[in-house]
Symmetry: C2
Subunit: 201 residues, 2 copies
DNA sequence: ATTTTAAGTAAATAATCGTTTACTTACTTT
DNA sequence: AAAGTAAGTAAACGATTATTTACTTAAAAT
């Protein structure tokens, strides 16, 4: 039996990410993707059930999966609130700064009904990814440092401004001078930490 | 000369918003829209140049325009930081809570290349909408209450968690018990305000 | 009341969509 | 070396896309 070509598999994923980042998810068609990857449309269907299967796997495996491991690098549940949040922010900024294509698909996950389903089930909802961060936050809640908000609220306060800043980083990408720098991102992290803490702590 | 029917015009916009909210922007076609609005496809092209023109006008006029006026209701540049930010948060939450369809299209504006162009040009970039809020923030910067971050950073800290909470509000819409309540949103507003302020103020 | 004119309709346009059919190629197993 | 088999290709499938052509309708202007 002839083995599946990992080279072609990789070309499919790479070209799919590129087309989505450069021309939008709405302009990704199977025939365009096949042509860009230098293969026949049928080949895509050997590796993926259909278009939805391809997009969900791209989103879950390549974008979310890789982000999960990147964000938890050097992160530990036992860190102080300041150290932990700073690590999450720094890791996220570093990861997406060098992976714009993945960030673009990540943002589609918020609006596209197809990807949003996968997004909620796997990721941030309460999956293995968020679990360490969840326990980290709950520890500081029990210690009296953080207020007892539902974790959806803590998550919004913690992650939403971060993703917005990454988006800003890329929007001003071709301007004369970059506005969003690492220093600024870490300053914003400090502001978020101040806001999260119970008043007077 | 026969006058344009405002009824049909309104039906087009309403059905477009409904289809986008219920089935996603990617499932809105001109023929489906025409059928849903009870008209001929050609009629849409009497009122709009093409699909892009329709979507941009829907986004700018109906979603962004109406949000701009809603968020600035009862808001004044002269307010204290706490009062101003609280007003912005409360107004935003109230507006989108009763306008889910508009919120869905708003979120598409973050990822869809087509809408994102309009988004940046008109809105939050530095348009007439954000100007009063920008001056409000700058006044508190000059007073020494807020740090001198670029306004992109202040905007991210101020708005991003708010939109995330509205998203959460709708995601748990059909659960037994609503998680995101107005009280919780205003608690989160207070947290954001604490974070924004210079340390020690 | 008739003319004028743009609004509106039904149906068709070419292009493109996701997916499949019919066939060939290349690699593993015997 | 030959047989077997799934990977891969080229071309086509019907369905659907945005938009237009040819025609009808309704209302304002004469």
């Amino acid at each position: 039996m002839r083995p599946k070509s990992v080279v072609k598999e990789e070309a499919i994923r790479q070209e799919a990410l590129r087309i989505i980042a450069e021309e939008g998810l709405e302009n990704l068609s199977m025939q365009r993707l096949a042509k860009a990857a230098g293969i026949s449309p049928r080949t895509i269907y050997i590796k993926y059930e259909n278009k939805e299967d391809l997009l969900v796997k791209l989103f879950i495996d390549v974008v979310l999966g890789a982000y999960e491991t990147a964000v938890l690098k050097d992160f530990s549940e036992d860190m102080t609130l300041d150290a932990g949040v700073t690590a999450i922010w720094r890791n996220t900024f570093h990861y997406f700064r060098k992976n714009r294509e993945r960030f673009v698909l990540m943002q589609y996950g918020r609006s596209s009904p197809l990807l949003n389903k996968a997004y909620q089930e796997r990721d941030i909802g309460m999956g293995a990814f968020f679990a360490p961060i969840h326990r980290f936050l709950q520890r500081h809640v029990r210690a009296g440092l953080l207020p007892r908000y539902p974790h959806e609220v803590l998550r919004a306060l913690l992650f939403a401004p971060l993703f917005d800043l990454v988006q800003e980083y890329f929007e001003y990408r071709d301007r004369p001078r970059q506005i969003i720098t690492e220093k600024l991102v870490l300053d914003a992290a400090a502001a978020v930490i101040r806001g999260l803490k119970k008043p007077g702590k």
